[in-house]
Amino acid sequence: MPWVIKYRPKKVDDVVNQEEAKSTVLTWIHSWLEGKRPTKKALLLYGPPGVGKTSLVESIAAEYGLELLELNASDYRRTQDIRKTVAVASQKKPLFKKMMIILMDEVDGLSPRSDAGGIEELMKIIPNSINPIILTANDPWKDSLRPLREYVTMVQFKQLTTNQIIAVLQNICNKEKIQCDREALKFIAEKSLGDVRGAINDLEAVAEGYGRVTFNIVSLVVKPREKNIDLWRTLNSVFYAREFWQARKAVNTSEEDYETLMAWINDNIPAKYEDPEDVFRAWDSLARASIFLKRAKSGNWFLLPYVFDLIGPGVSFARKNGQVLRNRFSYPAKIKEMAQLKSVRENREGVARTIAKRIHASKRIVKSEVLPYLFLMMKYGDINRVSKLSSYYSFTEDQLRYLAGSRVKEIISSMNREVSSVKETKSAESSKYAAKKKRRSRSK
């Protein structure tokens, strides 16, 4: 039995170093078990490969005695397959067990072209499911997943540190009674870039082949997997490259598109470089790459190689003074914020549109010339005027929250008071009118 299966976590406690994710998932499962279905019927567990996403779900199912329907990427590709399996399962009460968890691995692997409709089908199924659905992905910020993100609760799994991986490997060595050098394990752990599964596979390969795990053997045998270089590997090669060709090759062979790659480098320069001159040189190179990319994309594709030169070696050799910092790579804030702050953007555009129409100016002008004053009025202005202004422009509650922050409640209750006082005056007037009518009819 391969070690990755043999040493897979069996109990929830065996899943290491993911406390936050663990507690989120457990709370969510508990509310299902208590019969309180959460508003979002699906979770999306995301993080680099081999950090325990699937294992956690499997161990929960085992520990709580739940049925588990596991679908691998290859099982459910097309719309019809999803209908046949997931849609049916989502409405089914398990025969012998309390509840069924539907687990779909690697949803970011669904290809928008050949697996067309898969994501849409999932979005139809999730809101009505009577069973908990759990999805996993390495890269949840992919464009193809954007619509799906609104239907799920996102749970982040952290990349494991080298030391955490060493501990896992050491534990296996002890159980298998194999002589393992600390240095060798460290080497494997570093090469794995946070992927425990990959590290265990490497360990097993060395142990099986040589009967012992020493630094000399390991440093010859274990190589970073070049096939399918992923982002972490690309970034590592860029920031740690020793030769021009290493950095260039990393960029050239990466499967990510250039913009994604640049967004990643853009956000990780400060995590890796510290010396102001190094930082500037790296950014200058990236900025120049961005110009070349723009030129290449407007029809001059022969300029693309220069983009590679600048984002790979250009960034690598920007470092002259300082060290490469040990910080881990992080998701580009821009991509994250675009998803999370989508609502800010919507409210901002909504308010700008309303006002632009009324004062006959462009949204651009409204945003730069009017919004700054409107923020002030809404946040600190006389409540009476503010609530009337809000009713006049019919701002929604979300828009009010965007404009006035925590004052939103005060404004809304003042708006309500106004409405009811208008009603009162109206009803007072109408009762006066009715009284008059009565008198008149009496006098007749």
Binding site: E259, N266, K294, R364, E369, V370, V422
Partner: protein, 325 residues
């Protein structure tokens, strides 16, 4: 105060008819003649923001067609429309719609026309010719030099100037009295100084100040200080001190919360740097202007805004450390 509606004063006190307009008297006289003769050529209104270009166009249409003039006027804004194709579709549709009684043409108002590329302007020129039988175009622009010659030569040209001090102050007084707002004369002076002859800006400052209480010099200064995204200044200062990471966080905030485009941010950086608020030597100021101009050009050519501006901030913190600001 009763149940009178409350709206942005820039909307509430916008003149509806040419007669109500103040300032720009030469222009108003010529436009009034068009309204009386019920005929006009294509018009190009050029001038700084808040000087009455859009208002004059609406007032002219109002005086031509009456209160329900909007059915005979198509209002487009070059910076909000998605390219010349949507403009073409909308104009085509509009040209087909019903014509006003007595008057032979309808009006297309294209605001911020100087934000169109010269290719789009060429296409616009063809549109103007194609529909010249049934429509007249009014183009409004801040910078007439950005309008291509063939369009300029087809339009009657009107240059709007910044609004005079007394006109702005009188208007502010009128509004304040109408709104039962207490004010100091001195405060209105300050509003005029800050607004630089931009009526919309002056009215916005007055309204925001009035919402905070009596319009005094102190309140006006507070409003102006708070409304100008001071963040840009903080961002520059943080970089100059070498706090690059902090500077970059402010950049994110400015671009997301206020929704400023990369170009807007560059312009604000420029404004801050050329003012006296930031203490640096003039030599450095020139150096920064040079690099900022380069960044501005790159962004205008479609390069990634975030990357370019981050590069600028990284450069600024490097310079800041070197010269010890």
């Amino acid at each position: 105060m009763g149940f009178e509606a409350e709206l942005l004063w820039a909307e509430k006190y916008r003149p509806r008819s040419l007669k109500e307009m103040i300032d720009q008297q030469d222009i108003i006289n010529r436009l009034t003649r068009f309204a009386e003769e019920k005929n006009m050529p294509h018009l190009l209104f050029a001038g700084p923001p808040g000087t009455g270009k859009t208002t004059a166009a609406h007032a002219l249409a109002h005086d031509l067609y009456g209160d329900a003039y909007m059915q005979f006027m198509l209002e487009l804004n070059a910076s909000d429309e998605r390219g010349i194709d949507t403009i073409r579709e909308k104009v085509k549709e509009f040209a087909r719609s019903k014509t006003p009684p007595e008057i032979q043409f309808k009006i297309v108002l294209l605001d911020e026309a100087d934000n169109m590329t010269s290719d789009a302007q060429q296409a616009l020129r063809r549109l103007m010719e194609l529909y010249s039988g049934s429509t007249r175009f009014i183009l409004a622009a801040n910078y007439p030099s950005k309008i291509i010659d063939p369009i300029q030569s087809r339009c009657a040209f009107f240059r709007f100037t910044t609004i005079r001090r007394e006109d702005i102050i009188n208007r502010l007084k009128f509004i304040a009295e109408n709104e039962n707002v207490e004010y100091d004369e001195e405060a209105l002076d300050i509003i005029y100084e800050v607004s630089e002859g931009d009526m919309r800006k002056a009215i916005n400052i007055l309204q925001a100040s009035a919402y905070l209480g009596k319009v005094s010099a102190e309140v006006v200064f507070r409003v102006v200080g708070m409304a100008r995204p001071k963040d840009v200044k903080d961002m520059i200062e943080a970089s100059l001190k070498g706090n690059f990471i902090e500077a970059r966080e402010i950049l994110r905030k400015v671009m997301i919360e206020y929704g400023l485009s990369g170009e807007d941010v560059v312009k604000q950086i420029h404004r801050e740097l050329m003012g006296s608020n930031i203490k640096i030597s003039d030599e450095i100021r020139v150096l920064i202007a040079d690099y900022l101009g380069e960044i501005h050009y790159r962004i205008s050519q479609g390069s990634d805004e975030d990357i370019q501006l981050s590069a600028f901030l990284a450069w600024l913190s490097m310079i800041g450390r070197k010269v010890g600001v």
